[in-house]
């Protein structure tokens, strides 16, 4: 995800809801870790996900991470 305000690139999967937010439960808002700018998480929208799938229908299928062995190193 690239923040539309400050241009900072971040992984939305690494974000957690703000502990102070009263609507944190099931929150669909992503806050840029750099500037705080909020955008709606498209992956939490079923219609947007369907649309994205439709627009990207030629993309290859995906596999589960469990199929990919990443060995513990330490």
């Amino acid at each position: 995800m690239i923040c539309p305000l400050c241009g900072y690139e971040y992984d939305e999967k690494n974000l957690s809801c703000h502990s102070s937010c009263p609507m944190a439960n099931g929150c669909a808002i992503l806050c840029c870790p750099n500037c705080g700018y909020q955008i709606v998480d498209e992956s939490k929208s079923s219609v947007a996900s369907w649309l994205r799938k439709l627009l990207n229908k030629n993309d290859p299928k995906v596999v589960n991470i469990q199929d990919i062995e990443v060995r513990k190193n330490q």
């Binding site: 669909a28 705080g36 290859p60």
Partner: protein
């Protein structure tokens, strides 16, 4: 330095392709374009760092955290380095920012030392070209001895080419020859590492650079000998060895850049870049800002709140939906239930009508316009333009960011006041946010209300709100003399937004908005219904009459809109919008109500965040100040308009 081609390590047929890159190079976009979407995310063993994995053409693909160096200084860099070391990958794709090749090539030369099959992806090639940066890809490919592709991942350009290179990927041929002392040290340390170790040169360099973890992992039995080698080598340099190694790599990077990169004259003539520069110019930026605001007003106010709302309310609800469901609901034998659904304060006739027929078309057009502003790169420039008036108020530059964020959602923006240094600053910015910065939904409805007004009436509204904000901001700045700090923002290039991105973004926002507001609209309507049924609404209207009717010069029915405005300001604004469309409010009354609802008390979620961030006392103080202040400004405006005989 010399060029020789190392042999690739033996490949595991199930080995993954690994995506590596510096932060902010569009790596996630490449991953998304290759795999279609994120699939699964899990913590890397022993750490809290998450990695994402998917597959492309049946080959596992792992997305690693962004790194600036493989000599780790953070958990992210350690995880990426360990993924490379743990299992020889089928190939490494390094995603590089074509606009900033120097930073990326430093990582490339480190990856060269691992000896893994490699493809260099020059991403954002279009933006590099737009900036006048020309890269001789063929020459770079020959100099590095590596496969190179150019992509624009956000538009899926070059992805087929990238896929086609998987099979032909090979270890980078380019090798750095460091100073004699360092090369000798590499040889000595490599000799003490396990013989079958892949990437032994890279590991030896990292150990030489001070990575004690790798020393313990690969050469614990010879730790003392390795430390002696490091100490002997370090004795020949004034700077730490890791610094010396990095500087020598940079020398090679600069040598490569001189051969393959040219910056031509496009920069000065490119329209987008010129527009981007003008849009933050102290003088020319103002007409551009005004043009953007006029465009926003025409699209959201005239088209969204005019054409679309008219269709949804007059046709869809009044002609199709209500006539169809009213007879069905009237079959219900309990009048109370019928009234609850389709009465004056009915869940269908008010909550759904306001939410779906009025607010939804307005926020739909607003979200489309906002998405275009975001994707075009104008939004950060808008923040820069706003920085100037805020600084003129005397506010700390850091206060600008929460104010800009407030245009999205005041509740979230209140949380970002944490970046301010003193408690006083945080409270004053929280107050200004709650007082006069409309959130996206409220701004949309306000634009809709403005569409019913003349330019003079809009100017009066704008002048009152801006003067009010300026006075409050100025007084706040006097109370808080704290030091000013600069507002630093990286300005992305101006781009033409992609239609599909705007559509998906708008749909996601609309779905989120409806999920969040409809329950509150239903709750607000239930409260009004209960107040109406118990006679409390009439009592409140009577009680508020001196303020609403005599003070503001508004009809008593507006009391209901102000009551639901406590739940959400946009809902209150939608109520006033509805009254204005029904002809209950004339233009002068609309301007007064517009001023009051713009400065109205924050929504309930915002109040909860203020309580959480600053405590009950502050929340009561903020609401206690804003409530009489908003109505006070409205009353003053009403009397001023009457005094000067101004009507719209």
């Amino acid at each position: 330095m010399s060029s020789c081609h190392a042999s690739a390590p033996t490949l595991d047929p199930d080995a993954p392709i690994i995506l590596i890159g510096n932060p902010n190079v569009g790596k996630s976009a490449v991953f998304g374009a290759l795999t279609g979407r994120y699939v699964e995310v899990s913590n890397f063993p022993g750490t809290t760092v998450e990695i994402s994995a998917g597959a492309v053409d049946g080959i596992p693909l792992i997305d690693t955290p962004g790194v600036n160096s493989l000599q780790p200084r953070s958990d992210d860099e350690r995880v990426t380095r360990n993924i490379l070391l743990d299992r020889p990958p089928r190939a490494v794709i390094q995603v590089a920012d074509a606009r900033n090749l120097r930073r990326s090539l430093l990582l490339t030369l480190q990856l060269a030392e691992f000896g893994v099959p490699f493809i260099l992806d020059l991403n954002m090639s279009d933006e590099a070209q737009a900036r006048g940066i020309a890269i001789d890809v063929k020459r770079l490919s020959q100099a590095l001895g590596a496969e190179i592709v150019q992509t624009v991942a956000t538009r899926h350009e070059g992805m087929d080419d990238l896929r086609a290179r998987f099979e032909s990927s090979r270890p980078i041929g380019y090798r750095i020859h460091y100073d004699g002392a360092i090369e000798t040290a590499i040889e000595k340390i490599s000799a003490l590492l396990p013989h079958d170790l892949n990437g032994s040169r890279a590991i030896a360099l990292m150990i030489l650079g001070g990575d004690d973890h790798l020393l313990q992992r690969y050469a614990a039995a010879h730790a003392d000998s390795v430390r002696d080698v490091i100490a002997d080598t370090q004795a020949g340099y004034d700077q730490p060895l890791s610094y010396v190694i990095t500087q020598q790599r940079f020398t090679c990077v600069d040598c490569l850049l001189n051969q393959v990169v040219t910056a031509n004259g496009i920069r000065n003539t490119h329209y987008a870049e010129n527009f981007g520069r003008l849009s933050v110019h102290p003088l020319w930026g103002i007409p551009i800002l005004l043009l953007v605001l006029v465009g926003l007003y025409l699209f959201v106010g005239k088209f969204g709140a005019g054409v679309l709302v008219d269709f949804m309310e007059s046709t869809v609800f009044d002609e199709w939906l209500i006539p169809f469901i009213s007879p069905l609901i009237n079959l219900i034998p309990i009048p109370f239930i019928v009234d609850l659904l389709i009465g004056n304060y009915g869940l269908i006739t008010m909550a759904l009508s306001y939410g779906i027929a009025i607010v939804m078309p307005i926020v739909l057009t607003f979200f489309i316009a906002f998405g275009i502003l975001e994707d075009s790169g104008y939004l950060p420039r808008l923040a820069v333009m706003l920085d100037r008036p805020f600084k003129a108020m005397g506010l700390n530059g850091k206060a600008v960011l929460p104010m800009v964020l407030g245009l999205g959602c005041d509740t979230m923006a209140t949380l970002t006041t944490r970046i301010l240094e003193t408690r006083k600053e945080r409270i004053m910015v929280t107050l200004l946010l709650a007082l006069g910065v409309p959130c996206s939904a409220q701004l949309g409805v306000l634009l809709g209300m403005m569409s019913m007004l003349s330019p003079l009436a809009i100017t009066v509204w704008g002048a009152v709100v801006i003067i009010t904000m300026f006075v409050v901001g100025y007084l706040a700045a006097q109370l808080i003399p704290g030091k000013r700090s600069d507002f630093i923002l990286e300005l992305p290039p101006i781009r033409i937004p992609q239609l599909s991105n705007i559509v998906i973004k708008t749909v996601a926002r609309l779905e989120w908005y409806l999920k969040e507001v409809l329950p509150l609209f239903l709750l607000g309507t239930l409260i009004l219904f209960a107040l109406d049924k118990t006679g409390a609404l009439a009592w409140l209207e009577h009680l508020a009459s001196p303020l609403v009717v005599s003070g503001l010069g508004l009809p008593a029915q507006t009391t209901g809109a102000f009551i639901i405005g406590f739940l959400r300001r946009d809902y209150g604004a939608a109520g006033l919008f509805h009254l204005a469309r029904d002809g209950v409010l004339n233009a002068t009354q609309l301007v007064i109500s517009l001023v009051v609802v713009t400065l109205f008390v924050p929504c309930i979620a915002n109040v909860m965040v203020i309580v959480k961030e600053h405590g009950w006392k502050t929340a009561v103080w903020v609401v206690g100040f804003i409530f009489p202040f908003a109505f006070g400004v409205g009353v003053l405006l009403n009397y001023a308009l009457r005094l000067f005989g101004v009507t719209f």
